[in-house]
């Protein structure tokens, strides 16, 4: 170890040594494409439609495995069985006895929704939580409300999605039956003329049932972020109301029984579009309106801008 340092080396303090490889600039990444957005913006009223569309895609398992698609599509398949079965029988019979009117109407439209009532309730129980629970649990709503969509438009979008999903269940099977009835008739123009009046009834009945369960289902699901709880709560509430209605019915409070059963309210009101059934219409309409209004108020109160 020397006490006095040797003289400075040549090039001391000069420019840094040039690495031949770095003398020419290496590849540089320029991202000139990503810049401020100056294009047109869609009006804010389209936001609920966009939200509804994406919510439906997510609820029906877009880009997810078949397991998340299985339950909803299995339920829809089950709901189609009565209609498709009846049409098959009809097709077989009409080839057996051509030109003859069938002695009975195998499955009246008015009875279809009642027949698949359980499936409709299960469908609402499965699909509506899928629309809101993941948003609540993963705190997506806080991002939405901060920089995407207002809470009011969010609720509207989710309601539209819920409504569209429910209509799939309340409308598709019955419309399939109607189409089949027309197609398998001996004379399609005659059948069309006969059955045309039923189409608006079918749509009306589908809307009555769908609006009821989509609004109620959404409101129940929005209480919790957990899908399993939401499904349980909805099924429990619906079953509970049916049981309660049964109790009132057996003690002679018939009107109350009709007005309390969450399954009877929409299905029997929908049925009334086809035939005069013996129900307390006013009481049931009031119940129907109360359920819808309370659910909507609860939904609107549930979703607020969150700090």
């Amino acid at each position: 170890m020397s006490t006095s340092p040797p003289p400075p080396p040549p090039g001391f303090g000069g420019p840094p040594p040039q690495d031949p490889a770095s003398a020419t600039p290496r590849a540089q990444v320029h991202d000139v494409r990503f810049a401020g957005y100056t294009g047109e913006r869609t009006p804010t009223w389209t936001a609920p439609l966009t939200l509804a569309w994406w919510s439906l895609l997510r609820a029906f398992g877009r880009r997810r495995g078949w397991t998340s698609k299985f339950v909803p599509f299995a339920l829809l398949g089950l709901a189609l069985i009565p209609g498709v079965g009846v049409l098959t029988v009809r097709a077989l019979l009409s080839s057996e006895f051509p030109g003859q009117e069938l002695p009975i109407e195998l499955l009246p439209y008015s009875a279809y929704l009642g027949m698949i009532g359980t499936l409709i309730v299960l469908w609402a129980a499965v699909v509506t939580p899928e629309l809101v629970c993941p948003d609540i649990q993963a705190r997506v709503t806080s991002l939405y409300f901060a920089t995407a969509i207002s809470p009011g438009r969010y609720v509207l979008g989710k309601w539209l999605a819920s409504m569209a999903a429910m209509l799939g269940m309340t409308l598709v099977p019955v419309v399939v039956l109607w189409l089949g009835n027309v197609m398998f008739a001996d004379s399609i123009p005659d059948a069309l003329a006969d059955d045309a009046a039923n189409l608006p009834r079918i749509v009306g009945a589908g809307v009555i049932v769908a609006a009821f369960f989509s609004t109620l289902g959404l409101a129940v699901a929005a209480v919790t972020g957990r899908r399993a709880y939401a499904i349980g709560a909805f099924v429990g509430l619906t079953l509970g109301s049916v049981v309660l209605a049964g109790v009132f019915d057996s003690t002679g409070h018939e009107t109350l029984a009709f007005a309390l059963s969450l399954v009877a309210i929409p299905t029997l009101l929908a049925q009334r579009l086809f035939e005069d059934n013996d129900i307390p219409v006013v009481a049931m309409c009031v119940s129907y309106a109360v359920v819808i209004v309370v659910s909507l108020i609860a939904l609107r109160a549930r979703f607020r801008v969150q700090p």
């Binding site: 400075p8 001391f12 997510r58």
Partner: protein
Amino acid sequence: MAPPLIQVDDVVVKYGNHLALDRVSVTVDAPATGLLGANGAGKSTLMKAILGLLTPTQGRISIMGHDAAKAADLVRRRVGYMPEHDCLPPTMTAADTVVHLAQLRGLPRRDAVRRASEALFTVGLEEERSRLIEGYSQGMKQRAKLAQSIVHGPDVVFLDEPTTGLDPAGRGEMLALIRRISHDLGIHVIVSSHILDDIRRTCDGVVVLRDGRLAAAEALETLAPTSAQGMRAEVGSSEAADRLATALTQGGFPAHRDGEHGVVMPDGSDRSLDALRDAAAHYGIALRKLAPAGGTLEDALVTAMTE
């Protein structure tokens, strides 16, 4: 004269009895501003107040010339926000999430799709963009959150602790990205962190919060020590420090010993630094640390905060 980007005027925010922001007044106009403070200092609260997500009990906030409390729709479309917590839907892919958030903010579908893939490319998520977010690592989630905050080409973007949960490499990349957003993409950036270094590497100005009060608001260059104050090198032993100081002085670059292992060159110019490098290389002395001599940014901030 254009209004400042953000003007906070005597703002008080309370959570119940807890005073989260205590009469904070600050103007933010720099391309990139850091919000610095310890846990619980009120950084997130200040961001949320500026975004209009919570209403101050006192004071006024304007953003881009609009009252923050009344400009929710403007904020949703022209501002980006990356919350500190997870906020992305786990059962959607990053690509779908970013596209649909862009659409909600008013981009037509085609623009939304194009810009979403550009934004995901910009943050380095192009490979994984078609995977469900639930399978993402923390770093990937942070990137996806960043992508959604810039996809609609906002005028200003708020990033709340963007480096949380990132490893050193990921953190470096995130900081480089943030720098690019303000420099190359021309988007104003407000970034919060409790790490001074994050802010030094990304911002032009800093706002320091302490216990809900404004402790300092400065441009970083007024705080940052300049090379005029000289540079201080640290080596492994005092002999090495002796040798380095002597060699530099003899070579015409004044240097003196400082502390046990330190050498200070009062002239912090590039030429002096080249000399230091060459001398160290020549004598085989390992440089442990090279930093501005006249105190660190930390020191400058502490001075500012205690003034």
